[in-house]
């Protein structure tokens, strides 16, 4: 019974990680760089919902599903715009520069968002209670407890996984996206509007981050400017474990990290190493599969 409960806990945590990892992996898949600011977009998504929900509540009433969906859509749209702006101002001027430069810039952007939001005149550093978008009903089966929010997170992750997979594999935009991912220059020569595709990727990635941020805050209803850092890092690890750039891999990685972290967290004497567990898994997996579980290792052309 305890095992089953932990399994549910892990699955629920893992699906949030998976959702965040999806965004990381999408951007990486196209631009081959780690968007460190992804975790901060997640936070901005949560704050957007925080400020939007009282307004939406006026029209839709408290905890109505329509209102919740409206809040999510609006917050996702706001974050999509922010994400595109970040790409335009910070990353686009660096197109074609060494990866390291872009990585450090991404860290810079991430720190900038965090410190700015921590400032007293923006959000401040105090945690805020996240509004109840939906009623979180707890179902108890004997000793087993499952919350309706957990089920929602799981469903949304599954839906978005399928949606993103469909977008990338089955649509025209997706084809262009894959072309850009494969070879930017060649894609440009073939008439693919590379810049627009990249902006689009950032928009979708940021919208995913916002949705993840809201679901994360529904699960853990205290939001503050640094809230994204820890789940962001774990989700990033999850993306790498699954094979970064690989969409099902992100979900697989998220679930693995979530489950293992949960099982370890429940063991006395091991729970204190919980911070290191995700990294431990990452290192182990990369040693045996340097491109991650589902990632295909590329042979360097000589």
């Amino acid at each position: 019974m305890e095992f089953l409960q932990q399994f549910i806990n892990g699955l629920s945590l893992g699906s949030v990680y998976a959702l965040i990892a999806l965004g990381y992996t999408m951007v990486y898949g196209v631009l081959r760089f780690i968007n460190f600011a992804h975790s901060d977009i997640l936070m901005l998504g949560a704050f957007a919902a925080f400020y939007l929900s009282p307004i939406v509540e006026k029209f839709c009433g408290p905890q109505s599903p329509v209102g919740a969906i409206l809040v999510v859509i609006l917050a996702a749209a706001i974050c999509a715009i922010i994400g595109t702006l970040i790409e335009f101002f910070a990353y686009r001027p660096l197109r074609g520069r060494p990866k390291l430069t872009v990585l450090i810039t991404a860290i810079g952007v991430s720190l900038f968002i965090e410190f700015t939001c921590q400032h007293g005149k923006v959000f401040g550093s105090n945690p805020r209670p996240f509004p109840k978008l939906l009623n979180d009903t707890q179902f108890h089966f004997g000793k087993l407890a499952i919350g309706s929010n957990d089920v929602i997170v799981l469903l949304v992750t599954a839906m978005l996984l399928v949606g993103i997979w469909f977008l990338v594999q089955k649509t025209r935009v997706g084809t262009a996206l894959r072309a850009v991912s494969y070879n930017q220059q060649a894609a440009a020569l073939m008439g693919v509007p590379v810049n627009r595709i990249i902006s689009f990727t950032f928009a979708v990635g940021s919208a995913l981050a916002a949705i993840a941020g809201i679901l994360y805050s529904m699960k853990f209803p205290a939001i503050e400017p640094l809230m994204g850092v820890q789940p962001g890092l774990r989700a990033f690890i999850a993306a790498v474990v699954g094979g970064i750039g690989n969409i099902p891999g992100a979900v697989l990685g998220g679930l693995i990290i979530g489950l293992l972290e949960t099982f370890a967290g429940g063991i006395p004497g091991l729970s204190n190493y919980r911070d290191a567990i995700a990294f431990g898994i990452l290192i182990l997996i990369l040693f045996f599969k340097p491109a991650g579980l589902l990632g295909r290792s590329t042979v360097e052309k000589v």
């Binding site: 190493y273 431990g280 290192i283 990369l286």
Partner: protein, 305 residues
């Protein structure tokens, strides 16, 4: 042509540092403290430059090795008690060697990976080191290691900074050391030219870790207190930023960046609530405007002599 008189400068540097430490009792302690911070930053940045700049292996775990050296040296000093002062250089050395040893263990498996993967794995190792420190009661765990004797002074710091600069520069400016640059430029070509790239990478990593450990030891005996949270991955990022701002692989630039980035927060104290925001903006703008480094001028790159 390699110039053979390089050692002379090392001795001058060390002599100056020792002279400074004799005079330092007259110094204002705040400036003295910041001065020592600068020296430690120089050691960290120059040693990371060997790994990230010269050899081109992106490590994000330097703070972890600094922690290893710092904790080990401090632990020895605390065990020695009264005689810690006499054995201070040996404690530092031991800290450096221990960090180098851990660097060897981390480096051998990790350095097979490249680019982002290497970065994230070294970040992971750095964090694991921190978590281990946080859970090891013998070194104070979360409470931190306190009561470390104050043994770091200007002499030791800048003497060792001079030594670090000397060693890294001497290394790179030798036929052997040109191999690091060859690995950086093209691993496959380097291999076919008979350069054992794995060994070079590990050597760079271990050498870098050794000096990070030394810097950690100096830091421990400077701040007199170590807490695991001081060695999280943001500390590693700080060092990486110094290396990149200095212009990867340019020792002089990296030294200048280490000085600048250590002093900058002190100058920004007046506007402390905006300090970190400005720091973040600085990173972004410099990366966009001067990606080759703040101190890279149009010199012919890496000319010998």
């Amino acid at each position: 042509m390699l110039k053979f008189g390089a050692k002379r400068w090392l001795f001058i540097g060390i002599a100056l540092a020792i002279a400074a430490s004799f005079l330092s009792p007259n110094f204002n302690r705040y400036y003295l403290g910041v001065g020592i911070d600068v020296g430690i930053a120089i050691i960290l940045a120059v040693s990371l430059n060997l790994i990230n700049g010269h050899t081109g292996q992106f490590s994000l775990g330097h703070a972890g090795f600094m922690a290893v050296g710092g904790y080990f040296a401090a632990w020895i000093s605390l065990k020695l008690g009264e005689s810690a002062e006499v054995f201070f250089p040996l404690s530092l050395l031991a800290g450096g060697l221990f960090a180098a040893l851990i660097g060897l263990f981390v480096g051998i498996p990790s350095l097979r990976l490249r680019g982002d993967y290497l970065a994230i794995v070294t970040l992971g190792f750095g964090e694991i080191i921190r978590v281990v420190a946080q859970n090891t009661e013998a070194i104070g765990a979360a409470s931190g290691l306190k009561g470390i004797p104050k043994l770091t002074n200007l002499g030791w710091t800048f003497g060792l900074a001079a030594l670090t600069i000397y060693i890294i520069t001497a290394l790179v400016n030798s036929t052997y050391g040109r191999g690091f640059l060859a690995v950086h430029d093209d691993e496959i070509a380097a291999e076919s030219s008979g350069i054992n790239t794995t060994r070079y990478k590990v050597v760079a990593f271990v050498t870098g870790s050794f000096f990070a450990g030394i810097a950690g030891g100096l830091y421990a005996h400077h701040k007199q207190f170590l807490a695991p949270t001081g060695f999280d991955w943001l500390k590693s990022v700080e060092i990486v930023v110094m290396v990149i701002l200095g212009g990867m692989g340019r020792t002089a630039g990296v030294v200048a960046a280490a000085i600048l980035l250590t002093l900058l927060p002190e100058f920004l104290r007046e506007v402390s609530e905006y300090r970190m925001i400005l720091y973040a903006l600085l990173i972004i703008f410099l990366m966009i405007l001067r990606p080759e480094g703040l101190f890279a001028f149009k010199l012919k790159r890496r000319q010998t002599s």
